[in-house]
Amino acid sequence: MQTDPNGTNPKKSKDSPSNSANTESTQLPSPFPDEVLEKVLSFLNSDKDRSSVSLVCKDWYNAERWTRTKLFIGNCYSVSPEIVARRFSKIKSVTLKGKPRFSDFNLVPQNWGADVHYWLTMFANVYPFLEELRLKRMTVSDESLELLATAFPGFRALSLMSCDGFSTDGLKAIATHCRNLTELDIQDTDIDDFSGGWLSCFPENFGSLEVLNFASLDSEVNFDALERLVSRCRSLRVLKVNKSITLVQLQRLLLRAPQLMELGTGSFQEELLLGQFGDLGNAFGNCKNLQTLSGLWEVTSIYLPVLYAACASLTFLNLSYAALRSVEFGNLLAHCPNLRRIWVLDTVEDKGLEAVGSSCPLLEELRVFPADPYDQNLHRGVTESGFVAVSRGCSKLHYVLYFCWQMTNAAVATIVQNCPNFTHFRLCIMNPGRPDYLTNEPMDEAFGAVVKTCTKLQRLSVSGLLTDLTFEYIGKYAKNLETLSVAFAGSSDRAMQFVLEGCPKLRKLEIRDCPFGNAALLSGLEKYETMRSRAKKGCPTFCSHSLIACKKDFSDFAEDRPPRCFGRVGLSN
């Protein structure tokens, strides 16, 4: 969140554009009444727009803060709850992100922080009419969930992504008390799953759910309770069940909710009788609005044809937990001509990606995940030719996340020539520091081609053997780059200097296991006040300076940021 510097101390306004306007606004009358301005501003939803508006002048700053209803805080330590409470009074929806992305990869210690409870107690006092809470990478206790369930009578939507710290007891509280709940979305969360009994806590007359996602929970829920719940919730459009739900049960759920737009199946593996197979196919056939399909845990491929009837309208196919082979994947794709996004495991291999290239001309996003990321000896999965095949058939591709064991500079150059519109290019060559496997040269030219050709590039993750040249290219050409992730790369501080001096829009920098020292960081950070850099353990000197650099970042609008938290990221093991 970009809090205006003037918010905390109106007198401190070194570079603020509102400085001169301040004096003017006290002398000149406003061109229109406050109410009009507020009405106009209430239509603004984008966080960036609102930040810009708040910097115009003091009147606009106030009008904006009195009309803001959605709060987005990208880093829960960047601002204190007290400051937020003082500035905004009408918040109904909050998005809070906590731990750095490194925590997804077990690089952040268990008790790092990012506990939401302090925020919730503040919200209970200041925003009792809170309706939505979306948390990412935060620690949430059962106590917090109970507070959430009981202190906010109008509470409607809860989304927890990659969070930890709670158990199914907390979910019981939500199900029991939130009478107006429309959304319960739990993603990628490893919690204490004591039992599926929480689902039975929804009252019998409760029917307002539109989104229900419990795919990442393990334990069995009471199926009858689930079936009745689904029948009652006539507006249910997203249903993602967990592995405990069988194919036969899925068929019954689909009959109750043919209006579904997003479906996450349960386990796709059990012995079906012929009649059951037919029933399931019919049930899918009834789902005319299905846009997203995911789940397919432990899929038995002979059952995939039951999906075909529902695939015509699919735009997003998430097979990232289903180990499909190339042939069955290709057969499925043949029925999905409208796909825009595909997430898949590398078990489909290059042949499967060729099928993507030939069957999915509208494809915009592709993510290929490794089925066995530690398989250092066999190196199965996808190679550069699969990626090239996709690029040939899918000219609209602009987002890619690709895990592979080998890549060449020539292949990447071909790929970006075929698809010059990349906004997100995340290539992970899984053995650190691997050169072009054909020429044995560094992968500098590959990423050089990416930044030269893809002028709209916003996010870049690099890998393979890279010298400072890669970063020279990035600094020279990647003028729209906002996020950069670097690991095991670069030769010297010059690399960082190129990037920090050359990329004006850079906001997020993730660096690990790179030989960059203090000088490199300090050189650029004078300019980039709003950059948040994260270093990981293993580069201790780097971390201590990211601490200093971040302090500078925070000093503009944070009074209470606990410095110990970034210290932990740097020094822990």
Binding site: D188, P373, Y374, F403, N431, P432, G433, P442, P515, K536
Partner: protein, 183 residues
């Protein structure tokens, strides 16, 4: 020319980014020893075979948090892999041998492979299977105990059915086996 020189300089600088098999945050003394090796991380895969003292056991050697796959996803796929790769270990005894052996049936594709391995393991000759005669004519006959506890001749049922029903193997001496083959 210049480029290859620069590349070699880069290679020697790579120790800073060298794939380390210990915990991150290593102290200077460790860094010194690894600097002496000057091995680029790209060679690590091969080098493990050459110099086992310096490498941790190859299959599970990992850098912390790399590749950047979400731990939630890793856990799910790991469970999947575990169940698929758990193996089917069965005991194998041979009449007269001082101790038993154990083999993983999942590793073999067919009876031919299995018999070849058994022959090598026990230094015996088992011969060729025929439906009518069993392993008549050979010194030894492979038998197995199935799920019902009965002793069956290896080779009668399709391979896939065999590996799911086989509980243990016994290589019988030809003279005893003859009795089996006639039934």
């Amino acid at each position: 020319m210049e480029r290859s020189l620069a590349y070699e300089n880069d290679l020697s600088n790579l120790e800073a980014t060298e794939l380390r098999l210990g915990l991150p945050g290593t102290d200077e003394s460790e860094k010194q020893s690894s600097r002496n090796n000057k091995r680029s991380s790209a060679e690590m895969d091969n080098s493990c075979e050459k110099d086992e003292q310096e490498c941790a056991p190859a299959p599970k050697a990992q850098v912390v948090g790399w590749p950047p796959v979400r731990s939630y996803r890793k856990n799910v796929l790991h469970q999947k892999n575990e169940s698929e790769l758990s193996g089917m270990f069965v005991k194998v005894s041979m009449d007269g041998a001082p101790y038993l052996r154990k083999i993983d049936l999942k590793v073999y594709k067919n009876y031919q492979d299995l018999l070849k391995v058994l022959e090598n393991m026990f230094k015996c000759s088992i011969g060729v299977y025929s439906e009518r005669e069993g392993y008549n004519g050979s010194e030894f006959a492979p038998t197995y105990e199935d799920k019902d506890g009965d002793w069956m001749l290896v080779g009668d049922v399709p391979w896939d059915m065999f590996i799911t029903s086989c509980k243990r193997l016994r290589i019988m001496k030809g003279s005893e086996a003859k009795g089996l083959g006639c039934l």
